[in-house]
Amino acid sequence: MATPIHLEDVRKEFSTLGETHLAVDDLSLDVPAGSFATLVGPSGCGKTTTLRMLAGLEIPTAGRIRFGETDVTDLPPQERNAAMVFQSIALYPHMTVRDNIGYGLKVQGVPESERNERIDDAAGTLQITDQLAKMPGELSGGQQQRVALGSALVQDPDILLLDEPMSDLDAQLKAELRVEIQHLHAELDTTVVYVTHDQTEAMTMSDQVVLLREGRLAQADPPQTLFDRPASEYVARFIGTPSTNVLSCAVERGETEATIATGEFELSVPADALPSSIDESVRLGIRPQYLHPGGGEHRFEVTVEVVEPLGTESVIHGRTGDGTRVDVVTSETAGVAPNETVTVGFDREHAFVFDREGETVLFGAELATGDAREPYDRTESQSRSTL
């Protein structure tokens, strides 16, 4: 039966040679029963440590972990009904695929006939019935991954933990297994926690994406919210490919309006929209998908460095006059060549405003829907945001 997971101020320190390294820093998190949560972040952000604490392979330095009503903080891994798929896949090389999948059931003393039935079921779901008699060494990477998944789900776990299970697979297989894992999640009654450094995996599969930064929670939200309303510059840059463009801007405060400006464009916002803590400068984030060559309300010039065609669209990598990197995703690449200058523009509802610490202080979308001071074509903005 799926169980909700609660982390309360969980902290994990590692000491090596007298030096203490803080891997997870007071992380609090709730994962509802039966949902699919993804822990994502760059290497060393504490995501795998968090997962290992859920599995019982690491004991938190402080804080509590509960599965439903049960406090599992100090329970050994053997006593939690959790299944885990490891990054290294970890199949037993001396056992057949059947024995690999059934090992957990064997340990739990499930009789052989029932064991075989459940193994056959799991193998059927994962389309590896033909491979059951083989040794793991004879399987391809994708098949090994399926066996590892099979060994996890045959146990009917309350909680399924996946530690970067696809990091060694090629792109095509990843896409295939991504769909498969979502299928499995829909069929199984289990809470899934998935760890990845790949934000595409996080965005496509999860009910909730938990973005970590240096052991701290950066943001935990559904994928679309994370994309549309990033809590900070870090979140905005991590989620979405290519990464969000960030421009340094000066702020001029007036009586009723404040102006956010670079040398090339000005963006006026109501003075009360910017918190008073903002003094002279902010950083403005615009996703590459919302920058348009020759279009948009607010325009600036970009010197093109590289153009990457991706089929229907291309990514233009360039720099502004002051050397800030800017990426533009567009299908209009006619006349765009390295070392040439293009004028790109954005609409105000797609801008994020970050303060000096990188916290988001203003979403452009709020300006567009809220206090519409300037005449503004709303239908166009809505059709674009659904893209």
């Binding site: 599995a55 392979l57 959790a82 490891f86 037993y92 001396h94 090992y103 957990g104 340990v107 739990q108």
Partner: protein
């Protein structure tokens, strides 16, 4: 010449010698080495066998060593069994070799697992000390061990010789298993724990089967050390009925009634167990040692 070589277009692999010539040279070198080794190994073994299976009178007939046997006889072996304590020596050797192999391998598996799976103070130091103690020649250990066993009253016992032989073989075995366990992913064990297996059960079901090539190599090494040992047996055992076959055989040369034929016959017998082991377990031996960086 140097400048011309530089101007000339470089051949494959950046050498002015063509790759085909290189390959040919390499093959010739391998053949020559193999030939030399086999001459120095095969010829003595052949001489041993040839003398062992002929009656002494035939071997030395006509004043020259007769190395192409006309017939086969077991006479030398019969003399060994009836007139010497060879059977007793052999039994002694088998007993101490088996116990020392078992003890050394068990120690190595336990130590290797501990060194790779647990963190404790002084771990690196302990590992280095183990490797360092392997550098000692057995004779360096022999006298202190004699003193210890003498004090404890353990001289002339299987137990003492087993310990002494283990002291020689264990450091290398431990080092080998330590290296081997580093190649066994901890994720295999963790995955078993998460599925509910206790630490002991995991060791039995997962760790030991996966580490098999490693501990078989360690066991083969411990066997070779114990079976071929001379020094320790000579020092620890002083009564004739406790001698091992290596010590016993060396004494044959001092006896008037035992000649070359019998000595070669006993040598042949000594060579059989290692030969069988090399024959049947060589595949494990190579697997284990290649991990230890001794390919």
């Amino acid at each position: 010449m140097g400048s011309r070589g530089g101007i000339r277009r470089e051949r494959a692999a950046g050498s002015i010698v063509s790759q085909r010539t290189q390959a040919r040279l390499k093959r010739i070198a391998v053949y020559v080495t193999a030939l030399l080794v086999s001459v120095f190994v095969t010829v003595p073994v052949y001489v041993m066998v040839a003398i062992a299976i002929q009656a002494p009178s035939d071997v030395f007939a006509g004043g020259q060593v007769h190395l192409l046997p006309d017939g086969v006889t077991l006479r030398n072996f019969v003399v060994l069994v009836t007139e010497t304590s060879s059977v007793r020596y052999f039994t002694n050797s088998l007993i101490v070799t088996a116990s020392s192999t078992l003890l050394s391998t068990a120690l190595a598996v336990a130590a290797g697992y501990g060194l790779t799976r647990f963190d404790f103070r002084g771990k690196t130091l302990a590992a280095r000390a183990v490797l360092f103690s392997y550098m000692f020649s057995p004779i360096v250990l022999a006298i202190p061990l004699y003193v210890i066993f003498f004090t404890l009253g353990f001289l002339n016992s299987y137990f003492a010789l087993t310990l002494a032989l283990t002291a020689i073989s264990a450091p290398f075995c431990i080092w080998l298993m330590w290296q081997y366990f580093q190649t066994v992913p901890i994720a295999l064990e963790e995955s078993a724990w998460v599925r509910g297996a206790s630490r002991w059960r995991t060791v039995r079901d997962v760790v030991l089967p996966v580490a098999r090539p490693g501990y078989i190599s360690a066991a083969i090494f411990a066997f070779a050390v114990a079976w071929n040992d001379f020094t320790m047996a000579r020092v620890v055992m002083s009564r004739d009925e406790m001698y091992t076959i290596t010590v016993g055989a060396s004494l044959f040369l001092d006896r008037v009634s035992i000649g070359w034929g019998e000595t070669m016959a006993v040598s042949l017998l000594i060579a059989i167990p290692p030969f069988c082991i090399a024959l049947f377990l060589q595949q494990y031996l190579l697997q284990g040692f290649s991990v230890g960086g001794l390919e």
